[in-house]
């Protein structure tokens, strides 16, 4: 009897403490939600107060500009193909900037990632140094490096290329070193036992294991870099972005050209998005099975 009552007491206390916990958790979640909502509302109002135009005023004419662009483009529909031809070289430049910077960035990322993966690093003591270096490369926004290089090198595609390549090296380096960490070390040990040098070990034992994943990340990055290269063009680094800036800051009359460029950029992004997701799928799931 005594035992039983003791049992029920402990069940009660367990239940009470559980309910207490649930209540506390709910309270915390509620407080967190309130804080979050307050942050959102006050943040929104602050941003709106510091903005040039008001939010509600803007909502009304949100579609004005797209409508103007579409209207003028439709009016001068016959000229659109000519605009496409005119701006195609600029588009090629934008894509080239993205492609070269992805390529160079990925090459540096490979070296950096191998140097900063524990177990593979050539200088194990410097792993932390290389990781910090990649962190900083990732943290500096591309626009900063691009603008400084424009000052030194003059406008053109190269500043944008270098800026994106640096960022790519940092971003891919981190992902690559995560991939490297999952690589099987047995081939590396095997090659060590026959006296291979560090670069031979990396090239013959690690790269074949991780190359598909590396490629897949590089393709994803290429997609991101096309967008980045268009934006950097806008601040003076050549390519389609630069032409776009000229067209829209021309006052009123060049909406049709802006429209043509919008279409070109949209189609390019969609095209490379499709290509890269197709190949990424094949790389990750194997060629035989096709897409899923």
């Amino acid at each position: 009897m005594a035992e039983l009552s003791a049992g029920s007491v402990s069940v009660n206390s367990i239940q009470n403490s559980y309910m207490e916990q649930v209540r506390r958790k709910r309270l915390y979640s509620f407080i967190a939600l309130i804080i979050f909502a307050a942050l959102m509302v006050s943040g929104f109002n602050t941003a709106a107060a510091r903005n040039g135009g008001s939010f509600w005023g803007g909502i009304d004419n949100f579609f004005d500009y797209p409508a103007d662009v579409v209207g003028e483009a439709a009016e001068k529909f016959a000229e659109l193909p000519a605009h496409f031809v005119t701006y195609f070289p600029a588009l090629v430049e934008t894509v080239n900037i993205a492609a070269v910077s992805t390529l160079i960035g990925a090459l540096f990322a490979i070296i950096l990632s191998l140097l900063s993966t524990r177990g593979l690093a050539k200088f194990p003591k410097l792993v932390g140094v290389f990781r910090r270096a990649m962190d900083i490369m990732r943290a500096v926004p591309e626009i900063v490096i691009a603008l400084i290089l424009i000052f030194i090198l003059g406008g053109g595609p190269v500043p944008a290329m270098i800026a994106i390549a640096i960022h790519t090296a940092g971003a891919l380096g981190k992902l690559y070193s995560e991939v490297n960490e999952n690589a099987d070390l047995k081939p590396v040990d095997g090659l060590s036992s026959v006296g291979a040098t560090w670069s031979q070990k990396m090239l013959l034992a690690v790269v074949p294991q991780v190359a598909p994943n590396w490629l897949s990340y590089a393709l994803l990055r290429f997609e991101i870099n096309i967008r980045a290269s268009a934006i950097l063009g806008f601040v003076g680094a050549g390519g389609l972005g630069y032409e776009l800036k000229n067209a829209i800051s021309w006052g009123q009359g060049r909406y049709d050209e802006a429209g043509a460029m919008f279409i070109l950029l949209f189609l390019t992004i969609v095209l490379f998005d499709q290509i890269s997701s197709y190949y990424r799928d094949r790389l990750v799931h194997g060629a035989g099975e096709g897409g899923h």
């Binding site: 942050l39 070269v100 943290a139 053109g156 190269v158």
Partner: protein, 443 residues
Amino acid sequence: MAALDTNPVTNTAALQADASRLFRKKRLFSFAVPALILVYLTYIFFAFDIMGLVQKANGDNARSLIADTYSHKVHITRDNRNGAVTAAIEGEKKGRYPEGTAPDWVELGETTVIDLGDGHIITYGPETITYDVPGYGLIKATPSRSRGVVQEYPTDEIPEWINASKNRMAITTEAGRLTVTRNRSEVFRYFTGWELFFFTLSSPYHGMGFGELVSRAFNGEAAAIMNDFWNNPMWLHGQVAWAIGETILMAFLGTMGAAIVALPLAFLAAKNFAPLMAVRFATRRFFYFLRGVDALIWTIILSRAFGLGPLTGALAILITDTGSFGKMFSEALENVDKKQIEGIRSTGAKPIQRYRFGVIPQITPVLLSQILYYLESNTRSATIIGAITGGGIGLMLTQAIITQKDWEEVTYYIVLVVLMVMMMDTISGWLRGKLIGSSEDKH
């Protein structure tokens, strides 16, 4: 035929042929890929005109940029028309020494004596400006309205560190730089460090030691000290802090707003929640469109509608990321486990409750980690978008770079931007750990 195939000899031969074909293919591949890359880079070399760029590159700009990042210069300027001498840090109005005062290495008087150190002495006389260069001799220059700058050198041949013409003389030594034109004589002396970072010359606290500042702060001057620092007219610490806050605000509003908008829409795009194919298809196309149009175009469109400012930047991030989040959230929703939902249903829960207790807890970790990852990455985007829409640190940074003058300020902003991004990275990593449990060992 079947018997032939099982014959071990032919089988080995076939296998060997297979293997060598594979080897050939691999060998070709391993040469072809680097060769292709090389060909492409060669094409780029000409397409981007790298040779022309090397010639065009401005070494002086690079040098002045690098020098400015860690040093500053003090200008001692003499107006050659009336003989007035002023001293100003970086030649700026905000850094000007009050009338009749100068740094201690300058002796003002009828003849102003400027000591650049290491025996380099420059004098601004009533008529003639002299520069005594150790190991070379005394250079004299007399600016005059009618005859330009009359120059006298101790040697017949003018050394290469002097740039002399009829109306202008420029001497650059390791101690500093002197330029004389008809209207103006100017001496630059370089010092290591950022000038007037804490207080400008107009503040009474300029040049005080740290100890004295602390003791004055305890005597009730803390607010005044803080005010002078915060409103430092040269470095604008207050405005810079605001700008950083604005950039973070853009990233925060954009990311969170996108998540709030994308979550309900994601249900419409997920196979297991939207039975109607047409709705699913339309929602997915919509997400794809938002992503495909890209932040740049959204920024342009929005800045036409909303004007320049942080709200426009936040909305640009919001719209683009609604597309990305919508796609990711709907994929996460398609991967939820049905059993939990059925378990909730068996207790008689209504649909809303089923979503709340059956679905949301399953996708929360995925959602949160993606949102936090985007928050960090959007801090960087907000810097760039800010440069276009005119808000936040991105705008200050581009303005400082475009004026091409105060590279120490550019350096300061860059350091702050890097610190800001790293801080957001740390915070989002910490939050992810707190909210989801350590995800580090999951990959």
